[in-house]
């Protein structure tokens, strides 16, 4: 097995990882960025390296092209921790396992979508909200498809507008938060973050022909001859809407698996970092959504701060503190606007699948009391996704917080693991 050594290793090539890599590389130190996806950009700039959609993305991809001393390793999954300051990485593009040594590590692992179990959510044609957008950005043509976007959060409008720009016919955007909260959010943006407010208004204008219903949520999805039928409720009345594709997501949760495996302190599912963006473990930094959902602007600033500190340029980093603190304050307040309502906990029916990998139903786990018990007694979370989908759902539904993380972080063919360990004579005992 091959060994590589870099001064700074960054996990995640989204805005936070890019910000960190670009700033760290200016010091002349060697930098490597590892990402599981086929290209850099993360979810928000997926597929935009060659054709950026915003001026911000354009700027940062230009910076990426100018950055020396940076190796961008895509299709690389971090499987675990091999030793102190050493990661075990599966590089799929080179079909090999390798050890990567670092002086400083920056975790820019982003977020995953929160999916909630709804009767029928396993039907073909049902996607995550960000999920359908990601697939569209990866080349799926949604042209002329009837699409419903449902769930919660500012992402819904962005997804709907994007899909419409790709030719989809938007039937409905359904937000679970009540009007008062959504107005509060808009007002907050108007007063404190005017550019974002204008962005929101322009999204809404783009979607002027699409009904935007607030305070309603999906309770059941049926497969019909004519595509999918989605049944919504506002808590009192029910209504249904038909579509070809349903994009449904209930917000984002920080992706803290690697942080957890390394042993960094977490709080409320977020990686805890100090003003330097450093975690409870010296030399391990965090930036962006992994420290709490805050959006692309925050991720970029935090990435830069972490990048500067990781190479010892503390003065330069400190200049960005005020901006970061301001953005974080707003983010924390805005998260509350889209808090999920209690009624969503009553959406799953007894036979609704909770764990999609092992087809475990709501009824089979509801009385088990913990993720651990659900795993041991019902195989919930024991499939290939390792609880990435049902873990956050169980946390919301039952407040079970004990999702376990263990290596390998992603299922890896046994052949890859064995062959690499055996075939290299240096590794033989």
């Amino acid at each position: 097995m091959e060994d590589f050594t870099f001064d700074v290793v960054i996990v995640g090539a989204g805005p936070a990882g890019i910000g960190a890599a670009v700033t760290a590389s200016r010091s002349g130190k060697s930098v490597a960025v590892l990402d599981d996806n086929v290209d850099i950009g993360g979810q928000i700039w997926r597929g935009e390296r060659t054709r950026p959609l915003t001026r911000e993305a354009q700027h940062w991809f230009d910076e990426v092209r100018r950055a020396r001393n940076v190796q961008w390793w895509c299709e690389c999954a971090v499987l675990g921790v091999e030793g102190p300051k050493q990661l075990l990485v599966h590089d799929r593009s080179r079909q090999q396992l390798c050890r990567i040594n670092y002086q400083s590590l920056i975790l820019a692992t982003g977020a995953v979508e929160l999916f909630l179990p709804i009767s029928g959510w396993t039907l073909p044609g049902v996607f995550g909200a960000g999920g359908l957008q990601a697939l569209a950005k990866s080349g799926y043509s949604v042209c002329d498809k009837r699409v419903i976007v449902a769930g919660s959060g500012p992402l819904l409008l962005a997804v709907a507008a994007y899909l419409q720009s790709r030719g989809a016919q938007l039937m409905l955007v359904a937000e679970q938060a009540p009007w008062s909260r959504v107005y509060g959010y808009a007002l907050h943006l108007l007063v404190y973050q005017y550019t974002k407010f204008r962005h929101g208004v322009s999204l809404r204008r783009t979607l002027r022909k699409t009904p935007y219903r607030v305070g309603c949520w999906p309770v059941r999805i049926r497969s019909t001859e004519n595509g999918l039928q989605v049944i919504f409720t506002d808590g009192v009345k029910y209504f249904s809407e038909s579509c070809d594709l349903l994009a449904c997501g209930f917000g984002l949760v920080p992706n803290t698996e690697l942080a957890q495996l390394i042993g960094c302190r977490l709080e409320q599912d977020r990686l805890v970092v100090n003003r330097r963006q450093e975690s409870s473990i010296s030399g391990v930094y965090g930036a962006g959504e992994v420290c709490g959902i805050a959006g692309v602007e925050t991720a970029l600033v935090e990435g830069q701060i972490a990048g500067y500190h990781a190479v010892g340029q503390d003065r330069t980093a400190q200049r960005l503190y005020r901006r970061r603190d301001r953005l974080r304050r707003f983010a924390d307040r805005l998260q509350k606007s889209f808090a999920l309502r209690d009624e969503l906990r009553r959406v799953p029916e007894p036979d609704t699948i909770v764990c999609r990998c092992e087809d475990v139903t709501f009824d089979q786990v509801r009385d088990l009391g913990s993720c651990r018990a659900a795993r041991l007694m019902a195989r919930c979370g024991m499939g290939p996704c390792q609880g990435r989908v049902c873990g956050p759902a169980l946390r919301f539904l039952f407040d079970w917080k004990d999702r376990s993380v263990r290596p390998p972080l992603l299922p890896t063919p046994a052949g890859v693991l064995c062959e690499e360990y055996v075939s290299d004579p240096r590794d033989s005992p």
Partner: protein, 100 residues
């Protein structure tokens, strides 16, 4: 695995359109745009689902970013590959459990 016969066909017709690549899906050729993921290419070919869950229900892509493992298929002989995390390459063979 791509059979020799399949290899021969793709080698004969590689440059008809440089922006296209040819996948072999369950042994049948599928011409798709260069730069799209296998999941996107299959969805465009009107497959919404190509896997069976443990209780035998049809499943297709869901999260789009490599975490849910719903879009897995056998790619170039490698089982359980997340098709949303792989770009289409010329001559790639993709084996689906089923399609509808």
């Amino acid at each position: 695995m791509v059979t020799q016969e399949q290899q021969a066909v793709t080698e004969q017709t590689p440059s008809e359109d440089i922006d296209k690549v040819c996948l072999w899906v369950n042994g049948k050729p599928l011409h798709v745009a260069r730069g799209v993921t296998v999941a996107a290419a299959l969805l465009n070919a009107r497959h919404l689902a190509w896997r069976r869950s443990v209780s035998n229900t049809p499943r297709g892509p869901f999260c789009g970013m490599g975490i849910c493992f719903e879009c897995c298929a056998t790619v170039d002989g490698q089982e359980r590959v997340r098709t949303c995390q792989v770009l289409c390459r010329d001559g790639m063979s993709v084996q689906l459990e089923e399609s509808r």
